[in-house]
Amino acid sequence: MSRRWRAIALVALLLGLLVYPYVVPQPGFWVVGIGLRALWLGLVAMSVSFLAGYVGLVSLGQLTFWGIAGYAVGYLAVLQGYSYGVAILAALVIAVVAAFLVGLIAVRVQGIFFVMLTLAISQVLYFSTFQLTDVTRGFTGIAPIRAPDVMGVSLNAARPMYYTVLFLCIIIFLGLRYLTRTPFGIALQGIRDNPERMKALGYPVYRYTLGAFTIAGAVAALSGVVAVFYHGQIVPDAVGLVRSIDVLVVAIIGGIGYLYGAFIGAVAFSILQMFAQLFTDRYNTLIGLVFVAILLFWPSGLVGLFQEVRDRVARLIPGTAEPQRTRKAVLEEAAPQHDVVQQRD
């Protein structure tokens, strides 16, 4: 795609996102059920994708920080009566500190050990929500958590909430994308590809990885704050293993390792889940099977699939073929990665 077409496509996408709440029928379903849900789900899945694509760590524990932030908002604003500004800010700080502390341990290990450890951490939060009843209200959870007013506009209404969250998601996405292009981000990719060499080059590998993990935790925490207002409550099941797996499913369906893939995955996942629920009670089976099928056949998800189709089309039209972009291969371990160093053909 040439530069100009890319710009046109981006402007069209942005316009589409802006007029979306006004053109779709049944705003309760399309704006809230699909749109808003895909936005916060994409945000937390993006933190998974960021860690996987740029640090090489697949996390099942992002909902931990999401949940800590959500519970903190609920506890501080609803149970303790603090103002929303204080509650949200404190919740973010608490969740980021938690991410930092967890990271101190978690980033020491890699590969499946990291998956196992983050899974264990997320489950510790889940089981603790039943035990720390003073803070979490146990099984019933904390409700109702109404969205705050911002400059006189209540975010409880679908459209103001949609635009606020959309704006937030765009800012975070651009921020993370920028981060991956800074020297820090490029060093992270070096660490992903060869930590030993980066260590030998004098990079503080542990501190960089910890930093990336904390940043991913902050993104997840932001999503948690949004989601707690979206749901109007926070309950233990929201941080259960099934939900944690959902986040991973979203990242994988979209194309793990691609930041924007998380949002594509979130839209696909929301639509799949919403419509599957209409036809069958076994929608989780369907989603599980889709997930397994993607892992078996297209591990780079919808984005990878799209790129493959595009490359094939480009090869059919003579003269327009551009050098193929190498696909990110997060899951195929043996496959070489060429994001930092350009591949020579």
């Binding site: 590969g111 998956v115 196992m116 989780n284 195929e332 371990e333």
Partner: protein, 290 residues
């Protein structure tokens, strides 16, 4: 004093169950370097199947045996059909098994609903035994679970250290390619190991299903604790799993007894302490963590 002893015995029984579940996980990991994150699902499946079989035949032993064989068969099938192709991509295998756990949990909910089940324990064991010397009264069935775990542990030790199969497995742990080059059908050994490892989860499901309830969510609970035990004990080490499961069982039960709100967190703190002091686990090998 009596309460402390009862809590300790409860901890040991729970540890025994954790050991049964984790031993399968650690055996599979030790040989193949893959982690089966549907292991908790297989535990629950074993429990449900055991419940159904005991209900039909009235024999607890049949239930345990049938569930173990059936779950082992499921494991071997999943391995040969889906996981074998990606055996060298451990991350992909882990994620595929997560997907399968979602499907498995949902299908089990379709069949068994969300109610609580309990596999009826064998009549002969439904007695309270008074232990000599300490004079603590304790359910006979729980002691049976404890002894079953010890028997399985000993059996695994004998299998791994005293048989030809065990020799091949141990050689495979050290150098898979070399064993293959020696003319041994490593694939068959892998399938057998997957069968054995998952069958142990099924057996644990029946044993645990007579002690605790079976319901959706139990699968995740046992997955969590088996992962914690696995990491603490050292990946791939059966002896490490034994020590770690006793440790985790005791810590968890004493925490439930004396500091209930912090029970899960305390277990997790144990995990962190071990990870900081010995990142490879109690009896694990160092090179494997990175």
């Amino acid at each position: 004093m009596r309460q402390v002893l009862t809590t300790a015995l409860n901890g040991l029984t729970l540890g025994a169950l954790y050991f049964l579940v984790t031993s399968g996980l650690t055996l599979i990991f030790g040989l193949m370097r893959v982690i089966n994150l549907a292991h908790g699902t297989l535990y629950l499946l074993g429990g449900y199947l055991g419940f159904s079989i005991v209900g039909r035949t009235g024999s607890w032993a049949f239930g345990a045996l049938g569930a173990a064989l059936a779950v082992g068969a499921v494991g071997a099938l999943v391995y040969s059909g889906m996981l074998r192709r990606f055996q060298h991509e451990e991350l992909r295998v882990a994620l595929i098994t997560i997907g399968l756990s979602v499907v498995g949990a949902d299908l089990m909910r379709a069949v068994y609903g969300s109610g609580n089940y309990r596999v009826p324990a064998p009549d002969q064991l439904r007695t309270a035994l008074t232990l000599p010397v300490v004079e603590v009264t304790y359910p006979g069935y729980r002691l049976f679970v404890l002894f079953s775990a010890i028997a399985v542990g000993l059996g695994l030790w004998l299998l791994l250290n005293k048989t030809r199969f065990g020799m091949v497995v141990r050689a495979g742990v050290d150098n898979r390619d070399m064993v293959s080059a020696m003319g041994i059908n490593v694939n068959l050994v892998f399938v057998a190991m997957f069968f054995l490892g998952t069958a142990l989860a099924g057996l644990a499901g029946v044993l645990g299903g007579s002690t605790f309830t079976l319901s959706p969510g139990v699968d995740n609970e046992f997955l969590l604790f088996s992962l914690v035990v696995l990491i603490i004990g050292g990946m791939g080490s059966v002896a490490g799993a034994a020590i770690a499961s006793v440790l985790v069982g005791l810590v968890f039960n004493f925490a439930i007894g004396y500091a209930a709100p912090l029970a899960t967190i305390l277990v997790f703190l144990l995990l962190i302490v071990v990870l900081v002091l010995r990142p490879e686990g109690l009896l694990g090998r160092r090179e494997r963590m990175a």
